[in-house]
């Protein structure tokens, strides 16, 4: 941790979650000197220190870690690195010329010039306003992540009788956490006909504690004087509209909202960088570089990851790209390749391929994607602009809740390739 930063750096990284920490260390390893990592919170690790449950690191470290342990793997390497870290420092603005305005208690408002900028600001949670639940404006309505921080970092229980809206992993994890700490969780509501959380979390967070998961249900009203006193729960129809007459009243003092994450892209927008309306993150090429040369993005600010292991992987892709950019080793392709989300795919990252691969040991490109519906016996496919299938792979199941990857051998891309489309379909019977 440094007490003061300079006014010029080769690389400035915004956000010291796993994305920023991983990228800083990987960039140093690749020879980038003079790196500054800025973090607004008073601790490093981003969201991880509050995610005290296990389930991290199986992919990357080959062992199961808790969030804080995963963060430690990186935080512990910072003191012996040359990376300069400044916490309690908020980045307020970045110009397209990469001038950063940051604010902290010691230095006030400061300008920093950077050759390269890496955006690693993570994401924030959707709130009641974002999903418009009618009723009284009372205390006791909070996002699941905020409750998690209260319980796991700050040490107090934000409620006694709880209802959770949203059955993604965060909602499920918090239902268990509140129960373990002595609160009573009435139920978890899910508007969709399926939970987007991992099966494991449904079993170990709800079934273990007999917490009902109500699929096709939502909150239609919050009532109370100063604090939440009761809520109205309704069943929804196929169009996700509440069914009149299905209303049930539940007495509770707390509503936890686990209704999705939005990449934290205020700074990105201020810079005039185009965002993908589907991911909520920047449009990037295979280097994780935005439309502005030398401005990169990785982690949840780019696409919401359910596995931190993929965040680390992405941070390494970005770090490698930053070092290639700074040492001017990149060569543009004659034609850009546009990647398109095809049948039953919501998005693909990267959005484009801009550069020629020169690295001898790098012979493949990993595409990250999500399906729009659950597909069993799935076949993932990449087809080029001429309709030629380049690669396909089979999966027992793909679901919207779990990010998928497909590995594209680079020898399949010739000079003239301009378009690639990724799709997922049910594999035809009998084929291998």
């Amino acid at each position: 941790m440094v007490s003061e930063f300079k006014d010029k750096y080769q690389l400035v990284i915004i956000g010291a979650g796993p994305a920023g920490l991983g990228a800083a260390l990987a960039a140093e390893e690749r020879g980038v000197k003079d790196i500054l990592l800025l973090e607004r919170d008073y601790f490093l690790g981003g969201i991880l220190p509050q995610c005290i449950h296990n389930g991290f690191g199986l992919d990357y470290f080959g062992e199961e870690l808790t969030g804080p342990e995963y963060a430690h793997r990186f935080i512990d390497r910072i003191p012996e690195s040359t990376v300069q870290v400044m916490d309690e420092t908020m980045v307020l603005d970045i110009t397209p010329d990469k001038e950063i305005t940051a604010l902290n208690r010691h230095q006030g408002v400061q300008k920093i010039e950077a050759k390269a900028v890496l955006l690693a600001m993570g994401c924030r949670e959707r709130t009641r306003e974002a999903i418009k639940i009618p009723g009284d404006r009372t205390a006791g309505v909070l996002t699941a992540g905020t409750a998690q921080r209260y319980i796991n970092i700050e040490g107090y229980l934000p409620g006694r009788k709880v209802i959770v809206l949203g059955s993604g992993d965060i909602g499920l994890i918090m239902a268990r956490r509140m129960t373990l700490e002595g609160a009573e969780v009435d139920s978890v509501l899910e508007i969709m006909p399926y939970s987007s959380g991992l099966v494991r979390n449904k079993v170990q967070c709800l079934d273990d504690f007999d917490i009902p998961l109500k699929l096709n249900h939502t909150l239609t009203r919050i009532e109370g004087d100063k604090r939440v006193e009761r809520v109205v729960v309704s069943r929804v129809n196929d169009d996700l509209e509440p069914v009149p007459g299905s209303e049930q009243t539940v007495e509770c003092d707390t509503v936890l909202l686990a209704v999705g994450l939005i990449p934290e892209n205020e700074l990105t927008k201020q810079m005039g960088i185009e965002l993908d309306p589907v991911t909520g993150g920047a449009v990037v090429n295979e280097q994780r570089e935005t439309e502005i040369n030398g401005v990169f993005a990785c982690g949840n600010v780019l696409q919401v990851h359910d596995l931190v292991d993929y965040v680390t992987e992405e941070s390494e892709i970005a770090a490698r790209a930053v070092s290639e950019y700074l040492s001017r080793r990149r060569k543009k392709r004659r034609k850009k390749i546009k990647l398109t989300a095809g049948e039953q795919i919501t998005y693909v990252v990267p959005h484009r391929i801009d550069y020629v691969y020169q690295d001898k040991d790098k012979k493949t490109l990993k595409l990250f994607l999500r399906s729009s519906v659950p597909v069993e016996e799935a076949e993932l496919k990449v087809v080029d602009g001429r309709g030629q299938e380049l690669i396909s792979s089979r999966k027992k199941i793909v679901t919207p809740g779990e990010m998928e990857t497909i590995i594209l051998p680079l020898q399949f891309l010739d000079e003239d390739t301009e378009e690639l489309t990724v799709s997922v379909t049910k594999a035809s019977q009998g084929a291998d």
Binding site: M1, I52, P68, I75, N152, L198
Partner: protein, 130 residues
């Protein structure tokens, strides 16, 4: 004889596996689509265990809590008694990553260990934290 439906968590398919048997023997396992599911269902039927992640109070630390976990999975039906024992404990800062907070948690033979570091308040104030 007992009959139980177990959801296999080994992959996103989440097969519903039906296990019949008693505490010592398994009569039949049905509904799994692969051998992994069979193994999982057997374990889950005979002796369901879980890692327990939670927090312990800290005095004199940069933070009021330290996150902890059981070093190995413990029987699922011991989770609430384990939480009761953990609630009795306060550790003094500094706490090291991996430090044993409770040995032999509720007679399981499994230790409760710290999953992060918590510096003492003063050190943190002196800017030694990272």
């Amino acid at each position: 004889m007992e009959k139980k439906e177990i959801i296999c968590i080994s992959c996103p398919l989440g097969c519903r596996v039906e296990v019949r048997g008693d505490g010592e023997n398994i009569e039949s396992i049905e509904g799994n689509q692969c051998p992994q599911g069979r193994e999982y269902a057997r374990e889950e039927f005979m002796n369901p265990t879980r890692i327990l992640p939670t927090t312990v109070r800290v005095s004199g630390g940069e933070l009021p809590l330290v996150s902890v976990k059981t070093e190995a999975p413990i029987p699922r039906d011991k989770i609430f008694s384990a939480m009761d024992q953990i609630a009795q404990v306060t550790v003094e800062a500094p706490v090291k990553l991996g430090e044993v907070i409770i040995e032999d948690l509720v007679g399981t033979g499994v230790s409760l260990v710290a999953t992060r570091r918590v510096l003492s308040d003063k050190k943190a104030a002196d800017g030694e934290k990272v």
